[in-house]
């Protein structure tokens, strides 16, 4: 009904008691997850700024489908907003792949300087070709390797480990570049697969290492911080085109403002996870020298970054 309501809104602008425009946002993380907190903050600001004229309903927990289905729904205007990771989004808009290149960002300050600056904005703009409007980025922390076998300090130690990765050429390339054996596998299978020894480990951020309970079966965690692929809040172009310029501005601003709340929630969540994992007695290894890791993945930049050399240089220069 949201589509027709939007039309009604522009038709009967003078009317006093308007039905609110109800827009739907799909979120694949659970209810109290940092990204969901961010979505809800965005919804709150929008409702406040429009005096309740625009309501955004958040559907958490992936109840409206997995990330890729939700992106397709966004493209055809079946859903209005979604919070998705830049990784699956890059299957729809290739430029976003750059953000998943390993060891690209020096640290988190570098990441956010790029994302919230002109480069980040430029990358969001490329989504429009795929019928989406990129609104803002959310924090997804840094992804790291963990395994059940041994402490990993250098790529040397990765040899012979079977590491689960997402079904992505880049991630397979990364794991193989650092010397391990990449094993694509659905997320839900990973816990049992590590437990029985089908695989030896996986890679993820702190909160997921905790929430997936993988820390129970894979106790060696190496903070190699290979990627910092952010989350992205997108709107459907179909919905967007029906909104007034004023409403577009309100939503865009609300999304940007919700990023601050989301990042704060992320940090808190991350700290809680780290504390829980440490209390469990897991072995956490800090990487002292990133050079061998960076050297190992250099060929990936040739393979996956060839079309985006300028963009990569810009990002590196933006420290």
């Amino acid at each position: 009904q949201n589509g027709s309501e939007t039309d009604q809104n522009s038709d009967k602008q003078g009317e006093v008691a308007q039905e609110p425009i109800v827009l739907k946002l799909a979120e694949n993380q659970p209810e109290d997850y940092p990204t969901t907190i961010g979505d809800k903050e965005m919804a709150r600001i929008v409702e406040e700024k429009t005096n309740g004229r625009i309501k955004i309903e958040v559907y958490a927990g992936g109840q409206l489908g997995d990330e890729k289905s939700v992106i397709e729904a966004i493209q055809m205007g079946g859903l209005d907003f979604a919070r998705v990771n830049a990784q699956p989004l890059s299957d729809f808009a290739k430029t976003l792949r750059v953000l998943s290149l390993p060891y690209l960002f020096e640290n988190e300050d570098h990441l956010w300087k790029v994302l919230n600056g002109p480069i980040g904005e430029e990358i969001l703009d490329t989504l429009e070709e795929s019928d989406m409007i990129g609104l803002t980025y959310y924090d997804s922390g840094t992804r790291n390797f963990y395994n059940s076998k041994r402490e990993v300090k250098t790529p040397e130690d990765m040899k012979g480990l079977k590491i689960r990765v997402q079904q992505s050429e880049l991630m397979v390339g990364l794991v193989e570049a650092v010397g391990a054996s990449a094993t694509p596998m659905p997320y839900g299978e990973v816990y049992s697969a590590i437990q029985t020894g089908v695989i030896h480990g996986a890679e993820n951020n702190w909160p997921s290492y905790d929430s997936s309970s993988h820390y129970e079966v894979a106790k060696y965690f190496t903070m190699d911080q290979h990627t910092m692929t952010p989350e992205v809040v997108v709107a459907s172009k179909a919905t967007w085109d029906k909104l007034s310029d004023e409403d577009k501005a309100i939503i865009k601003e609300a999304a940007r403002a919700s990023q601050d709340v989301q990042r704060k929630a992320w940090k808190e969540y991350e700290e809680k996870s780290i504390a829980k994992v440490k209390a469990n007695g897991n072995i956490i290894t800090e990487v002292e020298d990133f050079k061998p890791w960076q050297d190992a993945v250099a060929p990936l930049y040739e393979k996956f970054g060839a079309d985006y050399k300028d963009l990569i240089e810009e990002i590196k220069a933006a420290k």
Partner: protein, 177 residues
């Protein structure tokens, strides 16, 4: 040789049309069945291959899971059509004891019309989805995501075929009786 009386001639023509129809029907059925069978076997081989390569070669193909699932989607929609042909899809029969034969016949017709309508939905919207999905691709297989939605359309086409032929077959059965 003397000419056949016109009535016989027409009967022969009818038979020729019937034979042609039977041939087409046979080929169509064979095609749908063999396609499904091949995919079912292929899917089994793929998953076994993934196990083999991971264990013995220490390398897992990125396309394994995606291609096995793609096989399942393809034979899934084709087999749904076979279920329509054989009328094996589960329905409940609680109202059977209250129905007259005429009402029973009416419900069979209603069922076919509704399945026909749903098949049209599958043809059209499967096609629309595959258009949407051209902008997306399956990262493991490096294949356009449209391939996930084409079988919806194909299954729909097969179902349209089977609902129409079930009407025709009923009709010829009635005539022969």
């Amino acid at each position: 040789m003397h000419k056949l009386p016109p009535i016989l001639n027409r009967r022969q023509n009818n038979r020729r049309v019937e034979d042609l129809f039977k041939k087409i029907d046979e080929y169509f059925n064979k095609f749908v069945e063999y396609f499904g069978m091949v995919l079912l076997v292929l899917m089994t081989i793929i998953v076994s291959w993934v196990v083999f390569t991971r264990y013995f070669l220490g390398k897992t193909p990125a396309w394994g899971e995606e291609s096995a699932l793609l096989c399942m989607v393809w034979f899934g929609f084709l087999s749904i059509a076979l279920g329509v042909r054989d009328d094996t899809h589960i329905a409940i029969q609680v109202i059977d004891k209250f129905l007259t034969p005429a009402q029973e016949r009416f419900l069979v017709i209603l069922k076919r019309i509704l399945i026909f309508a749903f098949s049209v939905f599958m043809i059209v919207e499967g096609f629309n989805m595959s258009k949407v999905a051209t902008k997306n691709y399956m990262p493991g297989l490096k294949l356009n995501s449209s391939f996930l939605y084409i079988p919806v359309t194909l299954g729909g086409i097969a179902m349209v075929y089977y609902t129409i032929t079930s009407f025709i077959k009923d009709k010829t059965r009635e005539e022969t009786i």
